[in-house]
């Protein structure tokens, strides 16, 4: 194990840690071990890889540049809006969204790791030291991620807005990271306090969906705190802004740099500093409590045996006539339903896809009447639901109990493609279709039954799209056979590129509607293409 630069950096603050009651030597040791493990991907089943020190690179660090892309979306705000309050509020809404969602999906598994309990637990270590090491493990990645996202905007702001602006910006970013870490842990503590066992794990997943939706709607709220008066944005104070963190940071900037000092503004600015600092102190104090409650994660009550409903059995028989495939269908379905790591990564995108179309509609509605809106082509927004698909299929090859996959090798499987087709069917039926049905119901209510055919066509496109996604994302890795690690970000690029495939799907659909009976014909063609592609893809 080599010494990482970050550890050498932390060494300088040794005394600070000692003062906080942390055994620094042990703290460093745990952190070093964790970072070493992150740099390695656990080899997949049946491969006897020896350590190759040269090839060892942190996959997470390698994938950071995708966050730099997110960061670029901030740049226009720096250029085109030169009113601090509005500018910073918008920037921090974006940052908070990016950081909070990745915190929940990628680092929850670090925060909620219970393996540490059984290995480090019996050793003579104070709980505080372990907690500190775990927190710093997450913090290091949070900072790397934040750094990747904000470097370009920070450097640019130095030229556009001057050094004071950048310095304050930097300080605010640090405060935001603290706030997000504590917020996430805080949410878990609250849930862990009220629930236990399996129920709790489900709760965490629902919280993720709720949070994603909440942040998305929240960023809309931020925008609505400002009114476009002539060409400048006027801030319109309201009591609820006290609960919207990005506005705090905007207020801080405004108060320091523009010198606007109304009482309410100062309160908001004060919150930006006080809340993160106080919460991190409380967090450090309460971390042992958190660890204590984590125990509940490993406790499971013996679940009652549930009889599968008859209609479900019938449905499965109809969807998967082949017995082997049906067995894979059931198996994949239960893994997607039960595996915590899988849900942690995929469920947030469910919340995302549910909300995104409506946010766009909301924007349209502001410039046009409801009648115009209904007659218009906003129903194509339903295609946003398809964003869920690459997210699911980039994850199906992973499982936390990937070692169990030896069963694929020892059972007499005629062809491996059946494992993929079963998985695709399970993902569509168990995850995509429920979301799509909810979405469709709302769309039918909004746009009347005239869009029914279009909704069906979109569903057919979803099937076609799924086949493309699993083919391009699986890399010949069978479902649930690889270990989860922080390395999955390298798929981020692929997923992003796959998003682009949705565009021609929408485009062709919209084009076909220009010709009489075009939509009907397009639907039939899509159906034929989807069936053909399916047959070809899962041939042998």
């Amino acid at each position: 194990m080599k010494d990482m630069k970050i550890l050498l950096f932390l060494d300088r603050f040794q005394t600070l840690f000692q003062k906080a009651g942390v055994d620094y030597a042990v703290f460093r040791l745990i952190l070093k071990m964790k970072l070493t493990m992150d740099a390695r991907r656990i080899p997949t089943v049946m491969s006897n890889a020896k350590v190759n020190e040269q090839k060892e690179k942190n996959y997470f660090v390698r994938s950071l540049w995708i966050y730099a892309l997110y960061g670029l979306s901030i740049v226009p705000v720096l250029f085109f809006i030169d009113q601090y309050f509005f500018q910073i509020s918008i920037i921090f809404s974006i940052l908070m969204f990016v950081l909070m969602t990745s915190m929940i999906s990628d680092f929850s598994s670090v925060l909620l790791d219970i393996r540490d309990r059984s290995i480090i637990g019996p050793k003579p270590i104070h709980k505080r030291t372990l907690s500190a090491a775990k927190s710093f493990h997450v913090l290091i990645y949070m900072f790397l991620l934040t750094f990747a996202t904000t470097t370009v905007p920070l450097v640019l702001s130095l030229f556009i807005n001057g050094p004071l602006f950048s310095l304050l910006f930097l300080l605010e970013i640090v405060l935001l990271v603290m706030l997000i870490l504590v917020l996430t842990a805080g949410i878990y503590v609250v849930i862990l306090h009220f629930f236990d066992g399996e129920r709790l794990k489900n709760m965490i997943n629902y919280m993720q969906i709720a949070l994603t939706i909440g942040i998305l709607i929240g960023s809309q709220v931020v925008v609505r705190s400002f009114e476009l008066v002539e060409i400048t944005f006027e801030f319109s104070p309201a009591w609820w802004q006290v609960f919207v963190p990005p506005v705090w940071f905007g207020a801080l900037h405004e108060a320091v740099l523009a010198g606007t000092r109304s009482n309410f503004l100062l309160v908001l600015a004060g919150l930006a500093i006080v809340v993160p600092v106080i919460s991190i102190v409380i967090y450090i104090k309460l971390m042992p409590v958190f660890e204590h409650q984590l125990r509940k994660l490993s406790q499971t009550e013996g679940g009652a045996q549930k009889q599968k409903a008859k209609w479900k059995k019938q449905l499965a028989r109809w969807i998967s006539p082949n017995r082997v495939e049906r067995s894979m269908f059931h198996f994949a379905g239960s893994i997607m339903k039960n595996e915590r790591d899988f849900k942690l990564k995929v469920y947030p995108s469910i919340g995302f896809t549910l909300v995104i179309p409506f946010i766009f509609m909301f924007t349209t509605l502001q410039t046009s009447s409801f009648e115009e809106f209904r007659e218009g082509s906003s129903f194509y927004l339903v295609y946003f639901t398809l964003l869920l698909i690459p997210n699911i299929f980039s994850m199906v090859k992973y499982s936390s109990s990937y070692k169990g996959s030896w069963v694929y090798q020892v059972t007499p499987l005629e062809r491996k493609s059946i494992l993929y087709s079963g998985t695709v069917k399970a993902a569509l039926v168990k995850l995509f279709v429920p979301v799509y049905v909810v979405q469709s119901a709302i769309f039918l209510w909004l746009f009347s039954s005239s869009v029914l055919l279009d909704l069906v066509i979109c569903l057919i496109s979803a099937v076609l799209y799924s086949v493309i996604c699993i083919k391009l994302l699986s890399n010949n890795q069978l479902p649930f056979t690889a270990s989860f690690s922080l390395g999955q970000h390298q798929e981020g690029v692929k997923v992003f590129l796959l998003f682009l495939i949705i565009l021609p799907l929408v485009g062709l659909h919209a084009l076909s509607s220009l010709v009489p009976f075009g939509t009907e014909i397009y639907g039939l063609v899509m159906l034929a293409v989807a069936i053909l592609t399916w047959k070809l893809a899962f041939r042998n």
């Binding site: 040791l29 059984s118 270590i125």
Partner: protein, 262 residues
């Protein structure tokens, strides 16, 4: 000669959801003893060990370790304990050397010293060639050897072993059994849980049988044999846990496998 009390459990009771997993356990273990701690699955064996290691909290009764009440001890008492859990979790993306250095470090041992000791111990187990290979490529027996080394690397006074011989070949088993006997001679206390009765019978100075959260037998193998008039520890175990229907179950099982109805 006065023997030193190392472990003392007094009225130890632990319940989960109103059900007592451990019910009024009283047990005193002395220095240099190898205690075979046996019982059917779910009898509360690992719960007892986990309570002593502070992995589970909240219990009734008292736990004394090294003559001190556990409630009054801070984390440093664990320095004197070595632990091999059953189905042990292991950070298997690390190499054996890294893992052992890490564990030794948690006990406060310097890296160079730990590496040297780990290498020497692995050599004795004949696995020195994989010192720098990842644990994920290890066989079950090799992993078990690493776990045994990791539990002893800090020279503890008390050892809690749960099925420590699982996956080891017959030769390695003999080595480990001999190691345990020597450690006990040095005054170390060994708390040994296993389901393999003939090993427990051979190595234990004293056998404690736990069933349904209570101690149903406690004594040397000879004493137990005397009392229960049975030939082997396995027979005594079956007798005391009230299990006699193994033949019926086996024949029903085989019938079901062949597709017959029972």
């Amino acid at each position: 000669m006065e023997r030193k009390e190392v472990i003392k459990l007094a009225g130890l009771t632990k319940s989960y959801g109103g059900e007592n997993v451990l019910d009024e356990i009283n047990l005193t273990v002395y220095e240099g003893q190898i205690v075979g701690y046996i019982g059917p699955n779910g009898a509360g064996k690992s719960t007892t060990v986990k309570l002593m290691l502070g992995l589970i909290e909240e219990y009734y009764g008292e736990i004394h370790l090294f003559g001190e009440n556990l409630q009054k001890l801070d984390h440093s008492y664990k320095r004197r304990i070595g632990y091999v859990p059953e189905n042990a979790e292991i950070y298997d993306s690390l190499t054996a050397a890294e893992y052992l250095i890490f564990i030794a470090g948690l006990y406060g041992i310097e890296e160079e010293e730990a590496l040297e000791k780990a290498g020497n111990l692995m050599e004795q187990f004949n696995i020195e060639h994989v010192l720098h290979a990842r644990l994920s490529s290890f066989s079950k027996g090799m992993k078990q050897k690493v776990l045994i080394i990791s539990s002893l690397i800090h020279n503890p006074d008390v050892l809690f072993l749960d099925e420590p011989l699982s996956g080891l070949d017959a030769n390695s088993m003999m080595v480990v059994k001999e190691i345990l006997a020597l450690l006990a001679e040095q005054g170390k206390t060994i708390f040994y849980s296993s389901h393999i009765m003939d090993i427990v019978e051979k190595i234990s100075h004293r056998i404690v049988l736990l069933s349904g959260g209570s101690i149903v037998a406690d004594g040397t193998f000879e004493e137990l044999k005397e009392k229960n008039k049975q030939g082997t520890l396995e027979d005594i175990f079956n007798d005391l846990t009230g299990f006699h229907q193994h033949k019926d179950i086996a024949s029903a099982f085989v019938k079901i496998v062949q597709g017959e109805t029972v």
